[in-house]
């Protein structure tokens, strides 16, 4: 059974891979596109990776790129969204 702390840690690791920034510089980011410099292909592949993660934990659940590729999307919102999709 997955818990919130593990989901938070994993989402931060995904963001580390896509932003090239260490965890310490990511956790408080308010805008994924600006502070982490995620461009359109990065959002597409990040969403793809997160779908794989979510479906592994909660078969049938998913998320769409358009849900996270917005100007004001924060790290906190992403953690909440993934947590919700895996049933936490």
């Amino acid at each position: 059974m997955i818990d919130s702390a593990t989901v938070r840690k994993d989402v931060l690791h995904f963001l580390e891979a896509f932003s090239g920034k260490p965890n310490a510089d990511i956790k408080d980011a308010d805008r994924l596109s600006i502070e982490l410099h995620l461009d359109h292909p990065a959002f597409i592949f990040l969403a793809m990776s997160l779908r794989g993660y979510i479906q592994h934990l909660a078969p049938g659940a998913t998320l769409k790129t358009s849900e996270i590729e917005t100007d004001s999307f924060t790290v906190l919102k992403l953690i909440e969204l993934v947590s919700q999709r895996v049933g936490l």
Binding site: P22, A47, A61, E67
Partner: protein
């Protein structure tokens, strides 16, 4: 002085299907193709994309009586997103009509944009070390992606038609040094290869023809590079973008000066945290399709304000 203006604005319409956004998998990629139409003044990449469509009736002493219609309709089209692939196709149509004296407009255009991304990807940490716990089975070091843009415009007043088709392929990776991966110092790049077909009108200044009409196809190579030079000190507002595009003529008529190449360099300084206001400087040097492949060197300074999402 008589002046009557009636304007009807057609707001952007969005119908959200109740099934969307609940995180459930969707079966058919085109089932909801027409469920989210957007209506705007135009879909040409300009500020008109933020404007509602309009129907105007004008009665004025200076311009006489005329009407104008500017409508662009874009639908979500088809899309499919799984843990291994993501693709979408979005069509749009536009109609622009004005009966104003000496400025008659009657244009119809159709555009189709498509993109396809094929994963999944291997993940690497900020220090470049593999993050195997995050990888899906059969994850790849680099993943290809494809972009297709087509547009056709018919001008019924001038009795002309233009068309363009561009298909590009590139790759994305999270491994340091490869395309797509942004470095701690804020640098990333993408190489593109592709094909392009253009059917263009002559470029004129008054009655002087600056560039002849062109109809033909190219093989295209492009290198795109982007740098946030102050990323290491957490200052995200300075951006430098460079592109180099080389076109190899495959066939066609109207291009007399060999294979065209175009270099662009841009610097953007965002003036607020939301990056909605920016000062920009851009250099263009070479021959590009916007000016009919005429050799140009131009420097421009811009002040840009982005309104809306």
């Amino acid at each position: 002085m008589k002046s009557v203006i009636i304007i009807v604005l057609l707001s952007g319409i969005v119908f959200v299907s109740p099934a969307m956004g609940d995180g459930a998998s969707e079966e058919s990629p085109c089932l909801k193709a027409f469920s989210q139409p957007s209506v705007r003044k135009a879909f040409d990449g300009s500020k008109d994309e933020k404007e509602p469509a309009s129907i105007n009736y004008v009665d004025s002493d200076s311009k006489g009586t005329f009407y104008s219609i500017d409508v662009g309709l874009k639908v979500k089209g088809c899309e499919k997103e799984t843990d291994k692939v993501s693709w979408s196709i979005s069509p749009s149509v536009e109609f622009h009509r004005s009966s104003e004296r000496e400025k008659n407009v009657n244009k119809k255009s159709f555009a189709l944009n498509g993109e396809s991304f094929i994963g999944p990807l291997k993940h690497y940490g900020a220090d470049g070390s593999p993050m195997k716990d995050l990888d899906q089975p059969r994850a790849k070091i680099a993943a290809p992606f494809f972009l297709v843009k087509t547009k056709g415009t018919r001008d019924s007043e001038a009795h002309t038609a233009t068309a363009s088709i561009q298909a590009l392929a590139s790759a994305f990776s999270l491994r340091p040094g490869l395309p797509g991966r942004i470095t701690p110092a804020g640098f990333r790049y993408y190489p593109y290869i592709g094909l392009e077909y253009l059917d263009q009108l002559p470029v004129k200044q008054g009655t002087v023809v600056l560039a002849h009409e062109f109809s033909g196809s190219f093989a295209l190579v492009r290198l795109y590079a982007e740098w946030y030079p102050l990323r290491l000190i957490h200052y995200d507002r300075l951006q430098i973008i460079g592109t180099y595009t080389y076109r190899e003529l495959l066939g066609g008529k109207g291009l007399d000066d060999g294979n065209p190449a175009l270099f662009t360099l841009g610097v953007n300084l965002f003036l607020n945290n939301d990056e909605t206001i920016a000062l920009g400087w851009q250099l263009e040097d070479g021959r590009g399709p916007d000016l009919g492949f005429r050799d140009e060197r131009a420097v421009s300074v811009t002040f840009r304000v982005k309104i809306g999402a």
